[in-house]
Amino acid sequence: MKSLPVIQDHAEPRPPGHRSLWQSVEELEARAAAGRGEFAAGAAEVPPELSRRSFMQILGASAALGGLTACQPPREKIVPFVHEPVENRPGKRFHYATALSLDGYATGLLVGSADGRPVKVEGNPAHPTSQGASSTWDQGALLDLYDPERAKGYWRAGNALSWRGLLAEIQKLAREHEADGGAHLAFLLAPDASPTQAELRRGLQARFPKARIHVWAPVTEENATEGARIAFGRPLELRVSLDPARAILSLDSDFLSGQGESLRLTREFARHREPGAEMSRLYVAEPAMSLTGVNADHRFRMKGAEVAPFARAVAAQLGVVPGAPVLSPELTRAAKAVAADLAAHRGRSVVLAGLRQPPAVHALVHAMNAALGNVGVTVRHGRPVLGDAAPSSAALPALAREIEGGKLDTLVITAWNPVHAAPAGLDLGALLARIPNALYLSLREDETSRRCSWRLASSHPFESWGDARSRDGVASLVQPLIAPLYESTTAIDLLAAFLDAGDRGALRHVKAHWAARSALDPATFEAHWEGWLRQGVIPGTAEPAEAAPVDLAAVASALGRLPGAKGEGLELALAPSYGLFDGRFAGNAWLQELPDPITKVSWDNAAYLSEATAKRLGVEGGQVVTLALGSRSVQAPVMVMPGHADDAVTLSIGYGRTDGSAVSKGVGVDAYRLREAGAWFAPGLTVTAGKGKHKFAVAQGHFSMEGRPLALDFSTKEWATDAGRAELEHLHGLPATAQVPVDYSKQEYSWGMSVDLSRCTGCNACVIACQEENNIATVGKEQVAKGRIMHWIRTDRYFSGPVANPQTITQPVMCQHCETAPCEYVCPVNATVHSEEGLNEMVYNRCVGTRYCSNNCPYKVRRFNFLAWRPEVPDVETLLFNPDVTVRSRGVMEKCTYCVQRIEGARIDARTGGKKIGQVQSACQQACPAQAIVFGNLNDPQSRVKKLHDDERRYDLLHELGTRPRTAYLVKIRNPNPDLA
């Protein structure tokens, strides 16, 4: 066949017989550049000499390639409305139900979409885990979606592949592996309770019977599973209900932390923190201050290895197992009192063990709950929803052995970043590089993707179809809010590709699974499917509770096998980070900047230790020390944490990334370098003081209230006497010096807020929810250190009592919308003014930035744009902005508006409907799992906020200044055990 001259780059016209002459290197380069043109040949314009022949050539090619689109897999497309539904109008917010999973456990969400782009994450009230609340991580997912540094496309050895090309390659691979039953194939999957994925896994096992499917994550609940196996003989999962619980003992269990079912547990816990007969009492035994420990009525600090003996002591008091270990007199007394309290609340108490505790402690907890008659009331047991997809820390060592044994040709990884989070001493990166086909599906490029021959971009959950299950088994459908922003795929599609079904699309897999499972006829199924999508949950999918008798002998023998707690030496305790969890959120600037709820450190982790231990080691805050465990060591800056156990050092995992996006790299210290597979505590730590000094960016440097009446707390005993209430009497109402109140009675609405300190756990969900709702910028570590963090709502945290084990109180503070606002009268240009409904409004357009308002604000809630925090916003990030809220420029003051855009949105709806404004929720209120924040109309006597403003626990922050804030605080009531006073 004759080959035709294809359209080519224009060569430089050259006189025949002459060599091209040039006078300087610049001229030569300029000539070359001019010849190249801006676009590839034929891309921008028709070639100059378009002959009939080349015309036919292009025409033919166009016709042939035009048909190629038909060969694309039926990827589910989200297209703009062709026919706009009548109810749609520009700017109207639609909410779609979906779900986000963290290590396999789903939280149901409602994601708000404005003009086709998701802009706000809310909890799904119909979902049992969320109940309308959302965590910092749920909220932060939105920023991940629009991250310009997300992985894009499919790459094999540096060459881009098309989706079709990828499918073809995988098909080829699969055929090869099918031949030997998959003996050289392995999967390293992320834990996932998705029923569709479970079906795909079964398919994979059927097609490749010899292939290994490993499931792995850095944080696992293996200890709990193992504990259940000891106690019940099978791996049952604990389902906790705190509503009926009146006495709670947490053995290093951080059940308010954001993981698992913490949203529901926080809600149930907070509900019973108001004074009264229903009030619960929380005991926590733990090494470092956790969110749960902060909220404890009694917190016992002890090394991680000492929790087990303490648990035994309590169990011995309860008569569950014999043989009490020897404890310090103080702890003995504590164990006695705790046991007495638990016994006094038989059937209304609960004992919980943390995931870091050894299986024997979990087994003992099951025995204690059974002995206390809690089973069926506060605790239930059920089959684990993760099933065969439960992560195992043994997965990576096993995988490493397989690679070293040369048994692997193809490895498919959907687990998050195993190279970074691999156990210390296991150089998984080098091993991965040895595998010819290591396929890594990830949302971002990271340490692992650099070592894998195939890099596949993962779609964000908000771009994907799928299904998920919450911890109690309730299934939800995951539906996309937006078409994938970049060329990317999902785990379902990838696994299906190995079954030659990659071109079906995730939606069909999910739908087929549920159609088969529901066994409905197609028409009814469609209706149900629509309903499930709308509802966000699939009814009737909860795992039933199972009765299981505890094998006390097995528990006792497991306890006997526990290594005794050695009193000597330093213990290293690792912990998931409140911001970054296991490190997967390290690319998320919101979560990086979010101050730690206890230490208020932002953009960092630190080696936390107690004051006494720091003194003994001769180190001080900020000093860089070497933490060494045997031959492994890391350099970490020290921070003294009040309430930390002595002779122990806590370091959060998830920091110290060496690769990844600009946000994640080089922040903090990599604790994985000290971690054995799945281990959390390690004895024998040595700390060597170094010379370097580290500068932390601490959002709140001062820990004490200096005796000022700011965040108030009373014990139940104090509160019961009149003295307690009398102290509050002069902290609300109108101060003697204030002017006559403005009359708002003629207004229909008068907005106000209340914050219940008894309920607030300090979890920070409000902070990120506000950041997302109000387009609040992140500023970076250096600027946070300079005191320029931009959060409109912050959770102040104060310690009182001894540094060794202080009492802690958290207090969310946002603009108080003072009636006589100190900021308003000092603004020279009228940029901050009072609305007729009582709001303290900020007029960004008018602000010239004198900062006088901020100086005069006693609550220091105003935030100034000292620099252009967002000098250039990548196009994709502009999609993130809430269209109802102005993006502030440099030189402008900003602050909490009580979500005025939501009030106005509700007003528009009310006006068109001819009704009064119903319920308006501020973003912080909506996210709050503890329901500590309530917003509403003070002129409505029926409103919850009005009732809370009239509550006897109400007081006004800095009341004596006469600012008359519209945000009222309700004092925190602690419920200490009189026997431990």
Partner: protein, 468 residues
């Protein structure tokens, strides 16, 4: 010693030092006082070069600030104001001595003001120029602040907030600057005419001629001049009190501990006069040496200024005392914490103690005549007072802000290089303007000195003539 001789000696000792040394003629005074204009000085050139270079720092500092934002400074939450407003208040304070010397001392007919009033007035104008820069550039968006702070009619119907002390500042400072400039210029007219008449170069004659506004020294001219000068003196006098009172309102009107203090207006005015006189001394001592003005700016002038500083220092000290007393007496926990913990023992305690040393202790030496007449000590003391007054504004602004009501929001402040550039730059720019003033304008009020000279010689002649 005979009793009459002894009495004469005692009189001699008590008699003030002369205001003008020797018996110069008008021509001598002309030559002496206009010398800097007609015969340039090498030292002057070097100093101008230095000051111009320093002013470059100001240009750089302001450019960086306007191009990048206030974030280039050390200001933060909670310290929203720092060097910007410290410098503003400091410079405005320095600008006070001028008008006080010119106007109030004129009305009180204090003859010793004549030789130094021109200096002081020029200093006022240049200091207010430095100060006026800050209210504008300290804003986040100066391109709007430059006109939104003025009440101009607009279609939006938006006016400035007349309740805000910052708006009062705008009016107070601009009025003060305008009146000071007019007062200074009116006083200059006869001297500009003298310059025109003594100048040998045509360009100088024309230039000074234009600014002299056709002054001929006729009795009619003098009559109008005197009336005008007195009226302006009358207008200026309340301004001396009002400007710094209003500046103090920036703080007093707020509710921050350390700011919310009723004693602020008089205490600020006294502090301003105190600091202003210190600056006059700082400038005049080297100037009179370089330009050999010892004849007309005598030790008596310096001594008088030292006395004024002693008095105002005592008022300022009383202010410090009262602030502390009130903090204790009110039993307000926030104020007590500021005055008895944060200021004396906090992170910036050193600056507080510097303030007390410079403003309270150092001027106490002026009870002794030896200290008042020692030129070297006066100069050192005046510089120390300048530092002390700057420290006072740091104490008021930064120390009150960095620890206010909620300990959760406490935070430290540290200036950046831009802060230092702007601060150093204003000092340089001020010096540059002052050096130019010394070179091109009669820095001593020639006509007034001549008048005083005649009066004194006249009195002397009368005394010699044996009037009873």
């Amino acid at each position: 010693m005979t009793p009459p001789a002894q009495a004469a000696a005692e009189r001699e000792a008590l008699a003030p030092m002369p205001l003008i040394a020797g018996h110069p003629t008008d021509a001598q005074l002309n030559t002496e006082l206009l010398a800097p204009i007609f015969s340039p000085n090498e030292t002057w050139k070097k100093l101008v070069g230095l000051a111009a270079m320093g002013s470059g720092m100001l240009v750089i500092g302001l450019t960086v600030t306007i191009a990048r934002g206030i974030g280039m400074w050390g200001n933060n939450q909670p310290v929203g104001w720092a060097y910007d407003i410290i410098n503003f208040v400091w410079w405005i304070g320095i600008g006070h001595a001028g008008t006080l010397i010119s106007a109030i001392l004129l009305l009180f007919q204090q003859k010793w003001r004549t030789s130094i009033n021109r200096f002081a007035e020029a200093m006022t104008i240049f200091a207010v120029m430095q100060a006026a820069m800050f209210p504008l550039v300290h804003t986040g968006r100066p391109w709007f602040a430059i006109y939104w702070l003025f009440p101009y009619p607009n279609t939006m119907g938006i006016w400035p907030n007349f309740k805000s002390p910052l708006i009062w500042d705008v009016f107070a400072v601009s009025t003060y600057f305008t009146i000071s400039l007019l007062f200074w210029y009116l006083g200059l007219i006869p001297d500009l005419a003298t310059l025109r008449d003594t100048a040998t170069k045509r360009t100088q004659r024309i230039a000074y001629g234009i600014f002299a506004l056709g002054w001929k020294g006729s009795s009619r001219h003098w009559q109008h001049y005197r009336i005008g000068y007195l009226i302006l003196a009358g207008i200026s006098t309340p301004l001396v009190l009002s400007v710094h009172s209003i500046v103090s309102f920036d703080f007093a009107v707020s509710q921050l501990p350390g700011w919310h203090t009723t004693i602020f207006p008089p205490y600020f005015v006294a502090g301003a006069v105190f600091g202003g006189f210190a600056m006059v001394l700082t400038l005049i001592i080297p100037a009179r040496k370089v330009f050999r003005f010892n004849n007309v700016i005598t030790d008596r002038h310096l001594e008088n200024m030292a006395k004024v500083m002693l008095v105002t220092s005592m008022i300022v000290s009383y202010g410090y005392l009262m602030e502390n007393f009130m903090a204790w007496y009110s039993a307000n926990p926030y104020e007590s914490y500021l005055f008895f913990v944060t200021r004396p023992f906090g992170h910036y305690a050193a600056i507080y103690w510097i303030m007390l040393f410079c403003n309270v202790i150092v001027p106490q030496t002026f009870w002794w005549k030896k200290a008042r007449t020692s030129v070297a000590w006066l100069w050192i003391a005046s510089i120390l007072v300048g530092i002390g007054m700057w420290a006072e504004r740091f104490v008021i602004i930064v120390i009150s802000l960095y620890r206010d009501f909620l300990p959760s929001s406490w935070g430290l402040y540290a200036p950046t290089w831009v802060d230092w550039f702007i601060f150093g730059g204003t000092i340089s720019f001020f010096s540059l303007l002052f050096l130019l003033f010394l070179r091109f304008v009669p820095s001593v009020a020639l006509a007034e000195v001549k008048e005083l000279n005649h009066e004194m010689q006249h009195e002397k002649a009368h005394a010699a003539g044996g009037h009873p």
